[in-house]
Symmetry: C2
Subunit: 382 residues, 2 copies
Amino acid sequence: MKSPICEMLGIDFPLLAFSHCRDVVAAVSKAGGFGVFGATGHTPESIEVELAWIDAHCGGKPYGLDVLIPENLVTGGAKGLTSRGLAEKIPQGHRDFVDDLLSRNGVTPSPRNERPAGEPAKDSAPPFDPTNALELLEVAFRHPIKLIANALGVPPKAMLDMGKKHGVPVAALVGAKEHAIRQVEAGVDILVVQGGEAGGHCGEVSTLVLVPEVLNALKAIGAKTPVLAAGGIMNGRQMAGCMAMGAAGVWTGSVWLATTESETSEIFREKMVAATSRDTVRSKGRTGKPSRQLKSGWTQAWDGPDSPGALPMPYQTLISERALLAIEKSAATGNAAARDMVTYFVGQGVGLVDQVKSAGQVVQEFKEDFVAAYEDMTALFD
Amino acid sequence: MKSPICEMLGIDFPLLAFSHCRDVVAAVSKAGGFGVFGATGHTPESIEVELAWIDAHCGGKPYGLDVLIPENLVTGGAKGLTSRGLAEKIPQGHRDFVDDLLSRNGVTPSPRNERPAGEPAKDSAPPFDPTNALELLEVAFRHPIKLIANALGVPPKAMLDMGKKHGVPVAALVGAKEHAIRQVEAGVDILVVQGGEAGGHCGEVSTLVLVPEVLNALKAIGAKTPVLAAGGIMNGRQMAGCMAMGAAGVWTGSVWLATTESETSEIFREKMVAATSRDTVRSKGRTGKPSRQLKSGWTQAWDGPDSPGALPMPYQTLISERALLAIEKSAATGNAAARDMVTYFVGQGVGLVDQVKSAGQVVQEFKEDFVAAYEDMTALFD
């Protein structure tokens, strides 16, 4: 397929798949998409292990790496702090709120020294730490990565310089026209334009509106930065629709959470299949910034009248990841109240998931649906 | 163009345009789209005048009529009540809130006997009155209308029967999968599947997700009801995108508010051109149900900490329409505070409006952009 994204990334089908799971990344790239590994929570040591595994399993196909470096972080300047160090700063009222929520629902809190899901070491770097993220990138460039992405604001100059030095494009995620212009002016090579229906951190403007709005804004400043549409995209017909609007490809996330390879629990995947598009909520209760996730007893508690309110990033992540790990464990033993609280980042597209499939099959279906959409368009003019 | 909607409505290009302005309806139909006249606020007498005007100006092209009949209305059963009768039931606290808001901003309240915008007679039928809506339809069927639509829940059986009797398809607007199924089971001929980015009454799920979700649900029950995508659609590329996803056409609204023919004020059109997609809000402060409108001093007041809260439908409409009429008048005399409060129903697509054009030109550009989108898709496979 002829698209600037295909040329930049060395692929034939501009379907990018964000995942925290190395198995998904390798499977998508192998099947002809482009896997992007979410590195948040990793140390330089653990990322080396993950990328070596991907290299051995992706059939020599290209893949990328995604980091989360926020532009503003309350821990900014607090160098040398670890997750454990930060966790000690969480207010007692918030600890009590979580302890009470867990105990009322029959969930035993995780021991202090147990690592939350996705966090690789007992006393790792804190989440969203810029220094750690840049170290991860240094390690990553020892592998044949073809894209680096930042999903939380303008990438630091050091990241942009790294991309340039290695000839690897730098992508950045935006949820508003103004942010898109700022990213392009900073030197970003690819914009991931993500609508408010997306899972995880997101704005309020829908993909269908935001993508053309950003394309118009880029045109107005004479920028030719290719745009990947993101937010709500779960199949090849939606991908065709976004490319008809002018996107050079798509960036997807939620759809891979329902694959057999995914890091998600079986319980969460069952909840995905059962959910409609109205079963998600955009809430600060997971990371401290608005992020879309599956509605559950957990999200309701944080958004409810007794909530102490979300802590700023990264404290809310620290408190919620540990609790959600305990909730998942309890749910797995058959605790129905815990099962009700199980949640994860997921977009409104969860309403389009009707079964769990392999990642390779999802890529194949994207291709088939894309072609079917194009053929239907052609038939309109018969 | 080959689409079930084109066959049902006798048109070549499945672009439906909802408008409260007869000039827009006639201009769109004449240019090859399909105008749908929003009849809310009209009496049987005034609708006769409007439709006769459309007949004389649409060049013999087909058009339709849209009514708002909610499934649940707090005035249900209060037959014979007029707008004035209902207005007397508005709590004093709410009157005081509005009076104070207006006076603080230098706006003189409208005299009691002045009709609010869009309300045709001094003591007309109350808004959202089912009996009145059915009388309007009786009058409408003396004209060559080709579609009747209800934009607020399942149409009453009498409306569905009328459509059947006259051989005119009945459309209904839905914002959730479950509603779509209920509408199809009730016998609706066309579904307008409207995402949360839409202006006016809307749900929370985006167009990009809701359209395929409804199409999947229809397929699962073996229904072949054609779907019009709605919400955020302002140009032919988005229209092509929605049809690539499987929609049989599109239903549009906000884009016509920025046309020279529109009923909107010059001030509101200037605000549309200046707005980005983030300048709308989904609020109960206009009608009592969540509806998307341009953010302004008015919406901020109703959504703010001192708000008495929105009244249920139709009371909130009665109190807000009268005040907004006074606000528009004051803004037109140069009152900057009043200008700041000017608002109207509009979707996130307002961020795609960069100038005011004629309705006919908008239709023409939709066609050109649609073809351009298709050609770009074709070029992907070169």
